[in-house]
Symmetry: D2
Subunit: 338 residues, 4 copies
Amino acid sequence: MSKKIRCGVLGLGRLGYWHAENLSQRVKGAELVAVVDPLEGRAEQVAQELGVPKWSRNPNDVFENPDIDAVAIVTPTSTHAEMIKKAAANGKHIFVEKPITQTLQEADEVIEAIRNNHVFCQVGFMRRFDPAYVEAKKRIEAGDIGKPIYFKGITRDGNTPPPEFIKHSGGLYLDFSIHDYDTARFFLGAEVTSVTALGSVVHNQYVAEFNDVDQALTYLTFDSGAAADVEASRNAAYGYDIRAEIIGTEGSIQIGSLQHHDIKILTKKGCTHDIIPDFPSQFLDAYLLEMASFIECLRNNQKPLVDEYDGKIALNISVAATQSYQKGTTIQLEAIHS
Amino acid sequence: MSKKIRCGVLGLGRLGYWHAENLSQRVKGAELVAVVDPLEGRAEQVAQELGVPKWSRNPNDVFENPDIDAVAIVTPTSTHAEMIKKAAANGKHIFVEKPITQTLQEADEVIEAIRNNHVFCQVGFMRRFDPAYVEAKKRIEAGDIGKPIYFKGITRDGNTPPPEFIKHSGGLYLDFSIHDYDTARFFLGAEVTSVTALGSVVHNQYVAEFNDVDQALTYLTFDSGAAADVEASRNAAYGYDIRAEIIGTEGSIQIGSLQHHDIKILTKKGCTHDIIPDFPSQFLDAYLLEMASFIECLRNNQKPLVDEYDGKIALNISVAATQSYQKGTTIQLEAIHS
Amino acid sequence: MSKKIRCGVLGLGRLGYWHAENLSQRVKGAELVAVVDPLEGRAEQVAQELGVPKWSRNPNDVFENPDIDAVAIVTPTSTHAEMIKKAAANGKHIFVEKPITQTLQEADEVIEAIRNNHVFCQVGFMRRFDPAYVEAKKRIEAGDIGKPIYFKGITRDGNTPPPEFIKHSGGLYLDFSIHDYDTARFFLGAEVTSVTALGSVVHNQYVAEFNDVDQALTYLTFDSGAAADVEASRNAAYGYDIRAEIIGTEGSIQIGSLQHHDIKILTKKGCTHDIIPDFPSQFLDAYLLEMASFIECLRNNQKPLVDEYDGKIALNISVAATQSYQKGTTIQLEAIHS
Amino acid sequence: MSKKIRCGVLGLGRLGYWHAENLSQRVKGAELVAVVDPLEGRAEQVAQELGVPKWSRNPNDVFENPDIDAVAIVTPTSTHAEMIKKAAANGKHIFVEKPITQTLQEADEVIEAIRNNHVFCQVGFMRRFDPAYVEAKKRIEAGDIGKPIYFKGITRDGNTPPPEFIKHSGGLYLDFSIHDYDTARFFLGAEVTSVTALGSVVHNQYVAEFNDVDQALTYLTFDSGAAADVEASRNAAYGYDIRAEIIGTEGSIQIGSLQHHDIKILTKKGCTHDIIPDFPSQFLDAYLLEMASFIECLRNNQKPLVDEYDGKIALNISVAATQSYQKGTTIQLEAIHS
């Protein structure tokens, strides 16, 4: 296990940069040897900043580099399938941001490529690595709340994106709620059997142009008899608000306090704490921890904790949710077998 | 306004007893002159305990008593319509527990009776009088969160009732969520245009015998463009859990802390506060305040703050929710005009 | 136990009015038959408002009335000794606001009068009746935190009184900290053996004219080996802030959340709840509960839960604290035996 | 500013190891080139683990190494003076754990050595770098609470150390409260003019053997007119409890929530969150941030944010507190000028 995992990062947007930074400086057992971004000069700039020896505008420079063990794919979703297939074909292990691919057919193709090339793949559901979620999972497994029977998830962001982003977001169910769908499976330890999605445009009228909603609600049933509801919202004027609740037969767990700094200001106007303003403030640790886990799994020749099937299943629920909303009906899901 | 309102209470179950106790001891301007309960000896016992001069097993003794100004109807829902109509016919003002009646047709009949007899009617949506709800409403009206665009309500109780109760409960949407439907209207200042109800039996299998659920979710849309989701649950093993959240364009309001006593115990096991165990612990003050408001309105010859139309509208949403759940479709609602 | 306790209230300032209101309307088993206040017209006004049959400007009208069982003395502290002695001489049971008297010698005199006349006396340490304090005491007695070894109390008020009030307040140790001294004894179940008091004028310079402080700290040691610190402050610009903490060998208890309404407002500026603004908001229930307990004890011919010795002991600590601050030394206390 | 600061760490106990780990892996602009520990094999083990090129059992190997720019002194307090003087004499910048030295005379000597050799020195008051403290300071400077007039600090630890540790701890005022003394100066922006220290052995009788206390209280006055109280305790059976409160003329700030993981468990027994168990859980980030700031200051040729005078002043207050406790009197402090 002493060998370092040599990595390349593909895509150097905000999230890609964090992954590069973590791999180059904070993840034990990792070595960042190459960064790639199509934007003129971006890869070179990041490489120099982080002390990365190689940079390129062409992903093939990474895929074809025999010294690279693993790639982190942080490119636009539309390119995920192609990137994963090339990585697999070149024997690289894969970390890919959610969603795994844009379509279910692509998901099947990448799953086959991964299997055929005997590489490992982890999908970027970083919430599973957040210390609060890890602790909650431990408590559930320890039986502290009995059998989990209901999940309630909230994902709200007040940082409204521009129309161009909405256009390519895949819709609110895929963009936001996919995290909660995965988290629901994680905590309930069960698979979704039906999806009913509802939604409205309650404030940001411009999302209607893209047949999207700014306020979404999904109801899920599970093969264990459990159920779940998942709210997504672009209307949290007050900040970034991620909450999860798991009701068990003996108790309940709540995750997510919203508090940012651990201070309170008391004045005549009341007692105030600041609120987590955006997703980096909430999940920077989780991004580091998921990458550390990915590298640790590779060094131990173990399957990552969130794999390509988890990626496909969450995508499947998201696609069903989008359809359910559009058709106004409940969608039954068939089991996906890994 | 110096005249006292002379009252009779019909039905002396737990809730009826509280109303009697409040009217006899704590509500300024009220005088409790008669209590009625069909159970042998119950009315006499309560009358002696509270110092009420008259008691009876027959409601007509109250309706026909010319010295009585107002009645509080806390009898089984199936009798509400008959009680209200008799009260109205005898010129008594009416406080009636929710739901106003069992059916919408009955609701129309009592509305007509109330109008024809020029009496006032208040329906027992006590949450509107809870200090936290009153404060939240004030804040919304002061513009503190901008325009309200989403309501999220939770009503959970861990005190599972016996099958016989479930049988006559009207189902979870009517029994629990009706409070949240009313609260949603109260905070959003808008009327429901569509109802989609979902639900499951996730734990208490016996409720399935009555085609009921133990975990319910309702999605509502409003004529203002707002929306809402409302969860009801019989699975809060940890206590009694009532929460409300109103998202506005500029901020959000959260109601409901669950904390019972204002103390925390810190041990090696963690920091613990106790949880509100049941609805009396949560809403005893609200029951007093709603009755005080009812009496105050009567003394000022004013319409109560929650009237028979509010009662009918909430019933209408509950009936639609129950239908929606049973049929698996969204129900469109037409406006009810007062 | 069916007999009602017939009461008179002496002194109808803010606190006296509450006691009168509670005795006339909310305390089972009590009957308010007379109110007294030296201010022209005040007693009559209150009597009419609350429906009290007798009123007077002369306390003797109450002491000499053979139909009165008990008096609540809410007059200026300087008159307490005289009032208590007259009440005792006339066989009236006594509720007296804190401090029991102005001097320790007076305290000894009233204790003798109470003993000789076989009447009961309760001193107004209402915190002992606050539901949070009662619950904390229960938890301590149940052994939830092991043996209590340290008490930490805070009494802060931001409602700065006028100089005239400060002049007659007895100083911050007597005016504020006396409550915490009593609470410390209550929770630790032990007696104070030494008192060290420190203090400063950190903001309200005008209190210096009266040799008073606006920020006080007292350190207490107890015969059980426990210790305590007690802060008092007139500088809580944000509201009324009462906290208590009891450290035990196995854990700790914290009392006092400061939150007023059970709602939170979330905006870009943060998450805010309002703060208890003043002592009525904090302790109105406790005032009612202490009076209810007083009446209940009388009806059962039982000694009240906080008696004249508790009153004297708390006064003794307060006097010692004031001396300690003035002399800059620690004061040793001798045990007071009841 | 592109040059890396080449560092050596002296002393590889728990805290020394963290500093070494941070300097080798997480602090931008730092390079850890040597580690030293007198324990056979310890330095080599750490060097190999962290990839540090040089290791030794002799600090002189670091002092005499011309390639080293700065040292972190994490050796026993009794050696601080010698280490600092040697480091200064060899032109090394200095990071030293608190307290700066064991005696005030030593403090004066090292201050002279630092000045004469034109090196920089930072003392390990890491709380100043904790994000909550930084934010609180910002808010105070922004005027959010008006002028700061009172500081209240609590440092409690339930992890009772062995007698051998107590013997060399310097006493509770020096071991624990020194942090709060520094924090009080930091927030109040003022210097201490008098110190009164009180204390007791309320639980851990064995500390009495060393004339120490397990529960301490210090009262401080400041040249600005402000005051402070500082509690230290070895009796927090429930965990590690650090709190600070700053009262200003317009409001107050509270720091320290005690909550460890951001989850709550709700069961019939109540709502529970876990508590920060020990100081690493509370301050690991702060240790990283103080070191990052030290390196950043060196790279910019700037004086560190907490320097040798801060170190001496805090030591001075601690020594005065210990004397005050032992003599039972208030100690006046003279100003220390930098």
